[in-house]
Amino acid sequence: MDVTVEDKGKVQVLSVNGRLDSSSAKKFKAAFEPLAKTGHVCFVINLSDVEFIDSAGLGVMVSALRKVNKKGGDVKLAEPRDSVRMLLELTRLHQVFDIYDGLSDAVEAFA
């Protein structure tokens, strides 16, 4: 799993690939936390290359959301595969995260 960060001005896009699970969750935190510390509150997680996600993967996304939500920000999700979308729906987290089919739609939603 790798996380790449793209600075789109107001919005930070975190693109994750591979498996977002208990063994890689710390890598996600290591990418997210320095950005949150420097005051960023608007995030898009690009899930298009995430092949597998488990409850620990959901967990790091929820903590990210909680952290920025307090400061008036948001974490939006873009381009989840069917399997990831299924898990978001099963756990009812699709009611908490805004989910977009296109990455640019997710970024523009912050405008």
Partner: protein
């Protein structure tokens, strides 16, 4: 033909979990499950093995986690065995709908970042049993095959 069974053992290290997850994925697609079902079963296995490592062994490395995959005519069963601390009796009796409750915008600060693993397993699998003998703990998970899939599985190659 009869059941097919394969036994695995990994050490209690989160880095080993993707490996066994991907093996489960392969076995499920061979068993005729579609992509979504395959993901769901891999997910349940990953949740179960992760729980053995994190909870039964409290994160201690180098301890055995054993998985058996058993493909029968009408069902796919897997068992996850550890030799650590047993799960509390009522963990598997919690109300799933309470864990996956409707989330409204204002409750984001109350959302938990953990505690969804067992509920995911219970929502996905057709049968879930847990037993603990003091020496070892076994979680048994079953998914039924659709009739045409079990026909497919009957072919040996």
């Amino acid at each position: 033909m009869g059941e097919r069974r394969i036994h695995f053992r990994i050490e209690s290290d989160l880095d080993q979990v993707p490996l066994i997850g991907m093996v489960a994925n392969k076995l499920c697609s061979l068993a005729g499950f579609d992509e979504m079902q395959t993901y769901q079963i891999e997910l349940c296995l990953v949740e179960a093995v992760t729980n053995s490592i994190e909870h039964a062994y409290e994160g201690k490395p180098g301890l055995p986690v054993e998985v058996d995959f058993i493909l029968q005519r009408d069902r796919f069963r897997f068992t996850v065995r550890d030799y650590g601390r047993a799960m509390a009796h009522d963990e598997l009796n919690r109300d799933i709908s309470e864990i996956f409750k409707d989330n409204t915008e204002c409750a984001i600060c109350e959302l938990s970042s953990s505690g969804r693993g067992l509920a995911i397993i219970q929502a996905i699998m057709d049968a879930v049993f847990y037993s603990s003998t003091g020496e070892c703990n076994v979680l048994v998970l079953e998914k039924l095959l659709a009739p045409d899939e079990s026909e497919y599985c009957g072919d040996s190659a």
